[in-house]
Symmetry: C2
């Protein structure tokens, strides 16, 4: 039987949708709710949507707010976890928004805020593909490329909370323009956005491709991972060529991370990795090895696709929220996060 | 008065020379000895040289072997610190050489072996430019580019002991050939070897330069840091152009490290940084900031030249040796390294 305050709510707040999970102490998902995000509305309205979604999903689990230990949110962009502030989230149109404080005023439970990719990596580390490892780097490939770092089992945030921005490591200083305004970042070479740009470029140059037709049929204005999968299944030559190029740059990114950090595990997450799995990750893994400076035991470094899919972020938020709750409740002399202390 | 077994010997074993320091518990250098390395001789002969140098420098300090707690060596190349093995050191012509065991057989004191750049970073962290910080990345620019990482105050070695090879992070996949056989590594763009290649290239294209003359005058067949300094003082246009290019790539490397790790401090070490100091580091620091994805508090990340010069490695070896000795002597349940436990 559940004790009062025995569940944690994990939320993945994205630019197109937000997802909430009710998770018990054994990491079982008791209920799931997903609603669209409206980035054009004022942030306060989104806080109202979030509060309503929390109440709804708690009800779906047959519980009340009294059962809720806390709400832990993975939010896009630059986040200050200590203050619960979203500094800058272009996807949401937010700047310097005190998300933690505002949602706490509505729900009156502890609110934890962390970067969405960081919680995704925490999820894969605690409950997914990187389970049982100590030092993990997550590379999440979507419209952009984000990352997160776990060292000695704990999320590594860096001096300014800005660690893990590996999508903006430069791989080709003379390469294509990135969304960040610089040239040749990994994101400009290997993200889904980069692949779409390259597919359109190949088509313009006369390449034969089903991609645009598949997008029309599915009513998509962007080359989503499901469009990529469909095109590959149709043996689309342009899609295959463009994917191979993106995989090569993903391999370079993996190798740069390995040469610097020599981690136990690299988890490749995000929509493309989730849908294509090994078909996406295996060629990048093989090519990356050729760029490891130290070839000894190259296979000991596990390069694997994520397995938690769309739940990685919300589950990771739950895991992190529990740790932070344990720290808040710990006596002052024991404020170092410890697994299992929650 | 010194107690018996109260000093640690730190050795920096390089391809051209080896240097030994006798260091007391307050990190005071009591004696220093430097002799040439002969990479053409059998590794066992070099062990004899090392043992002789240790005895000599201990004598110079007015001590005997009974005063020596241990000998801690920074060795070039791929090293296994647990086994004291040098896997592969091209500078020395060594492969799978059990340096620790062999030197222990001669000296009968504990021997510690670590990568030379790692101990350099430990030195700058414990006693030099990065003192008082927790998360530090060292970038050592010489004929190659090596690195080392300190996280939460401790040397971070990685899964295979291969962490910190940031000289082989790729910055320009279409760039010049690197000594490692790949293209566009930081080492192929920003090392002293890369600068010499570019100076010779500019001269071939008709660039006016004093560099070759300075090398001849000084009897050098390579463009050492003292040659670089002399050429800059003569306002050599080719040298200035080539240095600026190398500084730009150093800036990219710094930015890649910051975007991934967001460390407190980046120490730029090695001969060029030592001789030119801020003249070398300041332009790279300024240009790097433009490549930080997160521009907030960019100045909080200290990017500084090393200050320990040629002693960084041997001093760092001493600091690390003391920690490892403390771990060996600690009860089994307390085998995590702790500062001050020595």
């Amino acid at each position: 039987m559940l004790q009062p305050k025995d569940v944690m709510i994990g939320i993945d707040l994205g630019g197109t949708s937000m997802r909430a999970l009710v998770v018990d102490r054994r990491n079982k998902i008791l209920a799931l709710e997903k609603i669209p995000t409206n980035p054009t509305q004022r942030p306060e309205r989104t806080v109202t949507d979030l509060a309503g979604m929390v109440d709804e999903v708690v009800k779906m689990a047959g519980l009340t707010r009294a059962n809720v230990q806390g709400v832990s949110i993975g939010a896009p962009g630059a986040v200050d976890p200590r203050k619960g502030i979203v500094h800058h989230a272009p996807n949401l149109g937010w700047k310097e928004f005190a998300l933690g404080q505002k949602l706490n005023a509505r729900l009156n439970v502890p609110i934890f805020v962390e970067n969405d990719v960081n919680v995704g990596v925490v999820g894969e580390h605690a409950l997914g593909a990187a389970r049982g490892t100590d030092d993990v780097v997550g590379i999440f490939v979507g419209t952009g490329i984000g990352g997160g770092i776990i060292l000695a089992g704990e999320l590594y945030e860096g001096l300014r909370g800005a660690a893990g921005e590996l999508g903006h490591m430069i791989l080709d200083i003379n390469g294509p323009l990135c969304g960040c305004g610089r040239h040749g970042c990994a994101e400009a070479l290997a993200s889904r956005t980069a692949m779409e740009r390259d597919v359109r470029g190949e088509i313009k140059k006369g390449g034969k491709s089903h991609v645009l037709k598949i997008m029309r049929e599915r009513g998509k204005d962007r080359m989503t991972s499901s469009v990529i999968l469909r095109a590959l299944r149709k043996n689309d030559p342009v899609m295959k060529k463009v994917l191979a190029r993106a995989q090569f740059y993903l391999a370079l990114l993996v190798a740069n991370v390995v040469n610097l950090l020599d981690p136990e595990c690299i988890v490749i997450g995000g929509g493309v990795a989730e849908r294509l799995g090994e078909e996406y990750v295996a060629p990048a893994r093989e090519q990356a090895k050729a760029y490891f400076l130290d070839p000894r035991d190259a296979d000991k470094i596990r390069v694997v696709p994520g397995i938690l899919g769309d739940n990685a972020g919300a589950l990771g938020a739950v895991v992190l929220g529990r740790k932070r709750l344990a720290i808040q409740h710990a006596p002052r002399h024991a404020r170092k996060p410890k697994t299992g202390a929650a």
